[in-house]
Symmetry: C2
Subunit: 604 residues, 2 copies
């Protein structure tokens, strides 16, 4: 039996199977509600307002939703079973994409891409020179190439017609050793490439004109897989759920990538069919998901993926909508939890060529730590979790309009909201500020415990609300909407912070150096541009480095992907980085647990 | 409007569009009547018997069919327009495949194929050794390989599961630098390859066990494209007729190939999914057709194809039904009318390594002539036409049961029929015998004119029948069925013979040698095993070589394809042959026409 629901504010009439889960049913209709918990009823993000439907609240909804929300008919879509016709109102649609802060190190990268344009003027066939069309073209081009050239059937199917149409002159586009496109003489059509960073939460891409090496557009998009779980482990668990799930995830990801590519091209006024190569970085789970590979063993000890080597495949094989003969180049990974994104950060920061100790930390949904010395690069991955991107935090959100991005507690409470709007939630940098400041102000103790109002000797006491076992700090009530930081939020941040700090400590131990030996600390990641270095030290996220040693590099992974797109030598270096980096599996160390527990504490 | 016809002896009720051409309509229903003229009403092969239908005879039918046939309701399907329901009786279905006479030179070819089996026992992953599954396998295999190995996405999608299922031991099959299959340890499943010769008329294939290098099955099949025209030019013309025609031809060819592969495997008791590579030879038009490439310019001066170089492509891209990751290797061609089949003959006969002058002639639907000296190999193609395969000959047929395969005129008329059956027609070797013997006996003069009974002083005179301008020689009346040789048949043979002989003469002229310098003459081709050498000399098809110098090598092209399948070095030699052979375009020579006209004459 089918049930018809009108979906507002989209004003679409959709028909669902009776008995279906509302969140899943909406998802199947292409409406992806933000639900980082993957529908487990814990993230409280998939709220919808029902009307004309007598839907009972589940015990979980009664517990989690405010009285006001319950009165207004708000439900958690993941808890709703579709049973009768009516109206579903979605929350004001979030801008689903946080513009990534691209680093673009500024350094000029020599233009030596895998995609090249070559002009040709061939002699016309005669009865004395009967060489076949492809042979004639290849023999003309090959003297300047390192080896023989290839052509696929689809190009061979058009070559005879094209050469005659253009009187045996024109242009070719080469990708590696393959001729992928034939253009008329003097057409000077675009020759584009894309660098793509597939984050667990965010897809970021840069469109490059490969005739000039210039980035002509940058954009980012929420990874649509977000609704299947906020972190890589949830996504992997989802794929193990039954047949077709892996393909589902892959399809969603590709849909998101194709949308992003379309937007990039529109904003730059270019044609997507003129993109000939996409260099891809990302964590290994995302790369496996892109390729449709089984990532199941990444989640189980000893944490082994299907492939870490670099891989070049036809874009058409994945349905990535670029030139039909374009290619995808996936950069190599180091280990199951140290992916091509980390290789790209190392490539972009030249950590692999360093003479003095340098530390880099890439904080996304996972946190990767890299420590370079002249002996080589050590890497570790830490299960930072999605806290910094708003996951599992009551009012957590990405760094978009309405997010509290910085905070001070003393002498008075002050905060900044992105876009100058009313505060709606807290993003990663805001969370760090909050916990660091409340710790400094004595609202949180070293163990992260939120003190009772009676224990605090300042005006901050009145902002602490205690409800049974639960405690929360009220940050704002802009336009009547409350934003708070709960004790549980502090615990989530501690787990993330502890994981990253333990990674730093153990890599320093492995390299037998201390914080003072480190000459430079690089913070990468989507929210790297916003974080307050001083607060990060106060919090204990990083050791007490002198602030002048700490630099932000934005999305270093994107920089690395751009390098690999623009210069082939960079691609070879990426292979070397992946082969030579020494990965430390933290969970395999006897000293891990003790270090982690110690690092949970706030402060330095 | 639809018209229903019952098709006998198949006993199938088919529905056709009113107004459709019967031959084409049957073809669309999968019933391919033998029609080498492509439906032009000249080959008289597509005879069908209609009943319950008042179909008028066309003027062409009245002219071409015998009174007996007209009385019996026989029509040419190509002349019939489907208009009303009734019955169509097809002629007794021919055995559509003439078993090819494979040469299989006997020489042992060293086993060094592109397809290889490798066993592996990997160390299992541990927390200290977290290499990804593919990386682990590739690193194990690569030390014995010339370069890095590749794997496609579909293999990568199964590798993690397989390795764990088999506890990290097993076997791989490699094709070139790609791992295409994973097998359980000790499974010793077949590793097969196929050598395929795509003739204009006949598809021939050999199935090889690549673990031993032995041919385990051989078979042949009529090229299903035959119904679209008997020679390459008719087929090319068909493809230029409108959109989709090229794809039609390709589809028919692939259907035939897939049937042939299936039969090969059944007869050898092997699985087709264990075929990992198919080496393909054929004339360039057939190879273009296989690949779906435009062969239009092959038919027009200056006769240039799309590609002559060797080409390796995934079998799946063409829909060739072997292992899903198997590959097709198309051998290189020399020129538009000197294809990979000729390269394969040169490879098989070692012409390219000769110290003394040697001549080879490959007679199929086209005739290719090769003359090797220590200076190199000269090649020429001659428009022999389909006469030797029964095309354009009134009672012409392939060398199957019922075909007159040899003939003598003196002292009395005697002939042999394949299978000892009643004579139904004449195959290529019979045709050569007939014309040679009738020339020797004075029934034909040097110019090929059939004398009038009154001009002949022997009992042969009574076998000559004159009807207006038409003359024919009655060979047999077995079981009341007459088989004759017409004046027109003699002309067709003269054209074929003249073309081949002119090719031989002009190559000798180019090499500045005479017939006496030639140390060996090799006759290749499907009917090479049946031809009478002495009669070929009497006829003047070849110069008056001492018979002991003339050898038959059967299907030399198949031998070459087998060599390329079994040994990679042979593949490299094929590339060299194609690059170094000097092709003489006969039509481009000022002395061609005079030589051709001179060679039309019978005798030596």
């Amino acid at each position: 039996m089918k049930v018809r629901l009108r979906v507002l504010p989209l004003d679409r009439e959709l028909s669902f199977k009776a008995g279906a889960n509302l969140r899943e049913a909406l998802l199947e209709s292409g409406i992806a509600l933000d639900s980082p918990c993957g529908g487990q009823g814990t993230c409280l993000k998939c709220k919808v307002q029902l009307s004309g439907i007598t839907q009972r609240f589940t015990p979980l909804e009664r517990e989690k939703l405010s009285a006001e929300e319950l009165d207004g008919g708000w439900h958690l879509a993941c808890q709703v079973t579709v049973e009768e016709a009516g109206e579903v109102r979605l929350p004001e649609l979030e801008v689903s994409r946080a513009k990534a802060g691209f680093g673009l190190l500024g350094e000029e990268i020599p233009l030596q891409p895998n995609v090249r344009r070559r002009h040709f003027e061939l002699s016309c066939p005669t009865i004395q020179d009967q060489r076949a069309d492809w042979d004639r073209l290849a023999e003309h081009l090959e003297p300047l190439e390192p080896g023989p050239l290839r052509a696929g059937l689809s190009l061979l199917r058009e070559i005879s017609h094209r050469l005659r149409e253009w009187n045996f002159a024109g242009e070719v586009i080469l990708v590696g050793d393959e001729v992928v496109a034939l253009d008329p003489p003097g057409s000077a059509r675009d020759m584009l490439g894309v660098a793509l960073d597939i984050g667990t939460t965010t897809l970021a891409a840069g469109l490059v004109d490969l005739d000039t090496g210039k980035v002509v557009a940058l954009d980012a998009e929420l990874n649509p897989q977000f609704v299947f779980g906020a972190d890589v482990i949830s996504r992997i668990m989802y794929t193990q759920d039954g047949p077709g799930k892996r393909e589902n995830l892959q399809k969603e990801l590709l849909k998101g990538i194709n949308q992003l590519l379309g937007r990039l091209c529109r904003s730059a006024g270019r044609e997507r069919e003129r993109i000939f190569e996409v260099t891809v970085v990302g964590n290994t789970t995302m790369l496996h998901s892109l390729l449709g590979l089984d990532a199941g063993h990444i989640a189980l000890a000893p944490y082994v993926g299907g492939i870490n080597r670099a891989l070049s495949i036809p874009a058409a094989e994945l349905g990535m909508q670029i030139h039909p003969r374009g290619r995808i180049y996936v950069l190599p990974s180091i280990a199951s939890f140290v992916g091509a994104d980390t290789v790209a950060v190392i490539l972009a920061t030249r950590l692999h060529q360093t003479d003095v100790p340098r530390l880099a930390i890439d904080i996304g949904t996972n946190g990767e730590v890299m420590l370079a010395t002249k002996e080589g690069v050590l890497t570790a991955s830490t299960a930072a979790g999605p806290a910094f991107e708003g996951g599992r935090i009551k009012y957590g959100m990405r760094a978009i309009k309405g997010a509290i991005s910085s905070f001070q507690a003393m002498p008075s409470v002050e905060y900044k909201v992105i876009g100058g709007a009313a505060a709606r939630g807290i993003c990663g940098s805001g969370l760090i500020d909050l916990v660091a400041e409340l710790f400094r102000a004595g609202v949180l103790d070293r163990k992260g415990r939120m003190l009772l109002p009676s224990e605090i000797d300042s005006s901050l006491a009145e902002r602490i609300r205690v409800r049974g076992e639960e405690r929360e700090f009220v940050i704002s009530k802009d336009e009547g909407k409350e934003v708070t930081l709960t004790q549980q939020d502090v615990r989530e941040l501690q787990l993330a912070k502890g994981a990253i700090r333990a990674g730093i400590e153990l890599l320093m131990k492995e390299a037998k150096i201390g914080p003072d030996d480190i000459q430079e600390v690089l913070l990468a990641g989507v929210f790297g541009n916003y974080i307050n270095r001083e607060k990060a030290v106060t919090l204990g996220l990083i050791p007490p480095f002198p602030l002048e040693k700490v630099h932000f590099i934005g999305n270093g992974a994107m920089d690395g992907a751009l390098r690999a797109l623009i210069n082939l030598e960079e691609r070879r270096q990426a292979d070397q980085i992946a082969a030579l980096a020494h990965h430390i599996e933290l969970s395999g160390r006897p000293d891990f647990e003790e270090t982690f527990l110690r690092c949970l504490a706030l402060g330095n």
